[in-house]
Every structure is written in C-alpha cells, then in structure tokens.
C-alpha cells in the first residue's frame, strides 16, 4: 500500500469511527430515555452527522487522486504520545512533582539532549517549581511524591 492509499484508508477509518461513535451515542441516549426532551438535539444532530459521514465516505472512495499535504511522520509522534500517556497514567502514584520531572527528562533524552546535568537540572527545577506553585495556588490537594500535597 503506497502512502497516498494508506492515508485515504486511515481517513476512511476515521470517518467510520466517528459514524460508529455517533450511532452508539444515539443508541445510548435513546436507551436512557426516548422522551423528546432527551432527544431534542441529539437525534437530529446524530442523523445529520451520520448523513455527512456517508457523503464524505463516498466522496473519499470516489476520489482517485487525492491531494495530501506534507505531514509529520507518525514514527516521530508515536513515542511522544506514548510518553505523554505514561506521564498522565502514572500521575496518581508518581505525583505531579516526580512525574513531571521524569516526563521532561525522558522527553529531552528522547530528542537528543545528552548533557545529563542540564537534563536533570532543568527537569527537576521545572517539575518541582511548577508543582510547588500550583499546589500553593489551588484550593485542593494535588498528588505529590516528595512535596507536600497542600499548603
């Protein structure tokens, strides 16, 4: 599969996913209550989106020579997304202070920063100072590993 065909294929998957999500949402809303108050916006809106998805799906299938803009390679974005997912899912037990410092250090290392002292100094200083600032400003406790949760 060449890159153009792959792009169109994934484009079709995105359209189909949106349509599937909308259909599921409509079903969920209808199952919860079929009263007009519950469906006054959801029903017409869902039907419009589904119709638009069908039209766009057909258009994309018919388009033999689609124009595709230059895009960033997926291989360079996926590691960043994985790191971001790890950062957020670990916040509950690593805390904002350590979790943020580790995330920034890992990101810098991944993107070619090899000055170890610089990586450590920046990530720890940023992570801890911002965590300190927010925890002293916010009226509720923040998950922390080393710093106090609330001031």
């Amino acid at each position: 599969m060449n890159s153009k065909k792959a792009h169109v294929f994934f484009d079709l998957i995105v359209i189909a996913t949106i349509a599937a999500l909308v259909a599921w949402y409509l079903y969920d809303a209808y199952s919860a209550s079929s009263h007009i108050i519950n469906l006054i916006l959801v029903l017409p809106l869902s039907l419009i989106i589904l119709s638009l998805c069908i039209i766009e799906f057909i258009n994309r299938c018919k388009d033999n020579d689609p124009i595709i803009e230059k895009l960033e390679p997926v291989s360079s974005v996926v590691p960043v997304i994985c790191l971001f997912i790890l950062y957020i899912t670990s916040l509950a037990w690593l805390g904002f202070d350590v979790g943020t410092s580790l995330f920034i250090a890992a990101f810098l290392w991944l993107h070619g920063e090899r000055r170890l002292i610089w990586v450590l100094a920046y990530s720890i200083a940023f992570g801890f100072l911002v965590a300190l600032f927010f925890s002293s400003m916010l009226p509720y406790p923040m998950p922390m590993l080393i710093l106090p949760s609330q001031y």
């Binding site: 484009d11 995105v14 359209i15 949106i18 999500l21 909308v22 949402y25 969920d28 809303a29 919860a32 209550s33 009263h35 007009i36 108050i37 519950n38 006054i40 916006l41 959801v42 809106l45 869902s46 419009i48 989106i49 638009l52 039209i55 766009e56 258009n59 895009l71 960033e72 390679p73 360079s76 974005v77 960043v80 997304i81 971001f84 997912i85 950062y87 957020i88 916040l91 509950a92 904002f96 943020t100 995330f103 920034i104 990101f107 810098l108 993107h111 070619g112 920063e113 920046y122 940023f126 992570g127 911002v130 965590a131 927010f134 400003m137 916010l138 009226p139 509720y140 923040m142 998950p143």
Partner: protein
C-alpha cells in the same frame, strides 16, 4: 442620561485618597498572571484574593477585583497567541489568527495588537456602560430561551465558516463537537454517553478538552521542529514592534467598535458572556472582510476582533451585576460575594441610590485600562521570549503546564485524562483535515444549545407561533439572517439590476 452630581461624587470617591489606587497595580498583575498561566482562571484569582477585600472599603474592593478582571481578560490572550492554548474560553478566537501570526515570527505584533485591542475596548465597553447601563439591564431581562437559542445558533454558524477547504469534514467535526457537548446528565434527568464514568456525569470538561485539542495536538505535530519560529532573525523580542502592533489597532476602528459592541451586549447575557462574544465578533469581522480566506492564516484583524469582544464583555457582565444583581459568570459571581461581604445588594435600587459608586467603578476601569497598557508593555517582552526556547524544551514544558492547569480546573485527574484523550482526537482531526476549531466551538456550545432548545420547547409547547410573540427574538433572527445571507442577497440583486439595464 448621566447624573452629573453623582458623577462628581463618584470622581471624588476615586481621587479623594490616592491609596484607593495602590491596590490596582497588584490587582492587574495578579490578573495578568492568572490569565497567562493556562488552567488558572480569573474567577479563581478573584476567589483566592476575595478575603483580602474584607480589609478594604467597598470602592477599594471593587477596584481590586475589577483590576484582576481587566488584567486577566488580556492575560488569557497571551498563551493563546504564543502557545495556541486559550487561557480561558473567551480567548478561543484569539488562537485562530494569533498563533499563526506567532508562527510566522509576528509574535511581537500579535501581542501588541492584543494589548491595544483589549485596552481600547475596555475603555469603549465602559463608556457604553456609562451611558447604557439601564437600557442594557432592561435588554437582559427581555432575553428568554428563544433569544438565547438564536445567539447560540449564531455561534454555531461559525462552525461552517471555520471549515476551510474541507467543508463536509468541518461540519462533521463541528456537529460531532456539539454532540460531545451534550454528554452527561441532560435536562430529562438521564445520563448519556458516560460509559458509567462518574466524572462524565457533569459533562466533558470543556477547557481541558480545548487545551488538548488546540495545544497538545499542535505540539505533537511540532516534534520535528527546532523552534516555534523557523527564521532566527524573526525570533527577536522587540518592544518597538510590540508598540507598533499596539498602535496599529487604531487603524481598524470599525472592527474595534463592532467587537466592543458585541462584547458589551453578549457579555451582559448571563451564562453566555465572553465565551460566545469573541466568536461572534470574529465571525462578523471575517464575513465583512474583503479577504475572508486570510482569516485563520494570521490576519491581525482576527486578533483585534476577538480581543475587543472578550475585553469589553467585562463591561457587559458588570452591567448585569450592577443593574440586576445577577452574576453572568464565575468572575462576577465572586464580585457578588464581595458585594454581600460589604452589605451591598446589586440591582435597580443600587443603581438608583448609589449611582456615585457605579460611576466610580466605571471611571476606575478607565484608569485601569491605562495602567494595563503600561504593565502590559512591561510584561509582554518577558513572555514573548518563549519563541527563543528550543522546541524540545518547550514541548514537554507546555504539555506539563497544560496538565497542571487541567488539574487546577477539575480538581482531580479527570482534567489531565481529558487533555490526553482530546490531544489524540485533535491530532487525528488535524492529520485528516477535520477542523479542530469547529469541534471545540461545538463542544463549547453543545450544552447551551440543548438547554435553550429545551426551554424554548417547554415554554412554547412545541408551537412555532411562540416566536411571533417575541419581537426581540424576531429582530435577532432577522439580524442573523442578514449577517448570513445579506451580502449574497445584495450581490444577487445588483447583478440582476445590471443584467436588466
């Protein structure tokens, strides 16, 4: 229209003691800081510093709180321009052209324009308030669900105009956003689309979703970029360019006037306020512009339209607070708390009996606008240095900041998780040409659209004739139609006349 004696008394209140003004500078700085840091809200700043106002007299307390409000209204535009993160929902439209300007190396100009538009429109807004405080409050009382529905529909029309070349995909994105805006408990008392997750019962947190869609998804796309601005010569922070941007605003008096008027009128509507005002001003400016396609590509007029409306909406929300005692949003709700802490009740009686205080508050805001110019010109050059930071430092720092901010908004990990999910959706949408801006607008308006539709349906009993009983709604509908199709109709008619001749 203006009570001269009360005006004199108001000015005496303001200038009798210089110490009254001492609290304005810290107020503006607090507002700037809370507005500029994504996730810290103006209302949060006001709530945190509210207890301090116990030790102030009422005028000082109002000056301090409105200074935070004024500083914060402008501050929200700074991350919108530099990082594509709308600090508040009232800065969404600022990202549309502000961020592309920053990417083109016009960050100095964009920030100067934002400051100019904000300060001038604060002044224009309060001048309007000075003359129109009573008519505005009467207008607000006439706003029923039918009128609210029309305002929301007006906002939704922006979805189509933001779709760009991929119209159907833009509409899918916008309507999908609208649908997502209805997730959670509806008016029928049943939960929809929550997947059993209790965090979703109140709906999707809009600002964290916005942060994910706009900022985080854009940062993913920039992972291979060295700097936010490619050209090293354009990365300089230049006070003269910021100042020239500031001055350039006066070349667009109609954009400023339209934005300010929309800001005051829509800002006065409780619950709608500045979130929609900036979008309406942006749509109207785009429609009137001879080159509408340049919007979204870094057109300075787009920044002026958005900033003018969101800053002047402060005056609109103050009109509702002072004249009716109704808070239009979080910030004015905190002000209402300050009212009660000083045993004062807003409303028609307050306007009638304490007109001098109302005038003092209005004139204080003129002074605050001038102070904001000075403080803004000092503050912006420091923040503009963001463009000099290498992207591999900027990306994780801004992502982390968005996560802290989203936690600050929700008070639990649902905020960061929302940012994560919507950053992925935003990245996929951008990659496959679904308009992210349209999706965000939909998300913002979804709940409001459903609520106003239901109320209209309940009041009208499903009868369209109800609309005919609401002359104000008909007038708004005509204005909406004229703004949508007026230009095309005139073109069509002129063409026909020319053919016949």
């Amino acid at each position: 229209m203006i009570d001269i004696i009360a005006l004199q008394a108001g000015l005496d209140l303001l200038f009798a003691d210089y110490s009254t003004w001492l609290i304005v500078v810290p107020g503006i700085l607090i507002g700037l800081l809370f507005g500029a840091v994504p996730g810290l809200q103006i209302s949060m700043a006001m709530a945190i510093f509210l207890p301090m106002t116990l030790y102030m007299d009422f005028i000082q307390a109002m000056l301090f709180l409105t200074a935070i409000f004024t500083g914060g209204s402008f501050g929200g535009g700074i991350p919108a321009i530099l990082m594509n993160i709308p600090g508040t929902s009232s800065s969404i439209a600022t990202t549309f052209d502000g961020y592309p300007m920053a990417r083109k190396g016009q960050h100095n100009l964009a920030l100067g324009i934002a400051l100019g538009a904000s300060t001038i429109s604060v002044i224009v807004g309060y001048i309007l308030l000075l003359f129109l405080v009573k008519p505005i409050s009467e207008l607000v009382l006439k706003m029923g669900p039918a009128e609210m529905s029309i305002i929301v529909i007006w906002g939704i029309t922006l979805i189509a105009s933001l779709s760009g070349q991929h119209v159907i995909k833009g509409m899918i994105a916008g309507f999908f956003g609208l649908l997502l805006g209805t997730v959670g408990y509806g008016e029928a008392g049943v939960a929809r689309g929550t997947l059993g997750i209790s965090y979703l019962l109140d709906g999707i947190p809009v600002i964290p979703a916005m942060m994910g869609m706009f900022a985080a998804s854009e940062l993913f796309r920039l992972v291979n970029t060295k700097y936010l601005v490619d050209d090293s010569a354009a990365r300089k922070v230049s006070i003269s360019k910021i100042f020239s941007g500031f001055k350039s605003v006066i070349r667009y008096p109609w954009v400023l006037a339209r934005g300010s008027l929309i800001g005051v009128l829509v800002g006065a509507v409780p619950g709608v306020g500045s979130s929609i005002a900036n979008l309406l001003s942006y749509i109207q400016t785009k429609r009137k512009d001879p080159d509408p396609d340049s919007f979204g590509q870094g057109n300075p007029t787009g920044v002026i339209a958005s900033e003018a409306a969101n800053s002047s909406s402060e005056a609109g929300s103050m009109a509702t607070l002072l004249a009716l005692g109704i808070p239009g949003g979080g910030a004015t709700a905190v002000m209402l708390a300050a009212f009660s802490m000083h045993n004062i009740t807003g409303g028609p009686q307050f306007i009638r009996e304490q007109t001098d205080i109302v005038y003092a508050i209005i004139f204080a805001n003129f002074g605050q606008a001038f102070l904001l110019i000075i403080l803004g010109l000092m503050f912006i050059p420091i923040l503009a240095n963001v463009v000099k930071v290498p992207m591999h430092y900027l990306i994780p720092s801004v992502l982390a900041l968005a996560i802290f901010g989203s936690f600050g908004l929700t008070g639990n990990l649902s905020g960061p998780i929302t940012v994560l999910i919507f950053s992925l959706i935003g990245w996929i949408f951008k990659r496959y040409n679904f308009s992210v801006a349209a999706a965000v607008i939909g998300l913002l308006l979804g709940g409001m659209a459903e609520e106003s539709l239901i109320y209209s349906y309940q009041i009208s009993g499903g009868q369209w004739s109800y609309l005919l009983e609401r002359p104000f709604a008909i007038l708004m509908l005509i204005m909406l139609m004229a703004s949508l199709f007026g230009g095309r109709l005139v073109k069509f008619l002129t063409k026909k006349v020319n053919v016949n001749v």
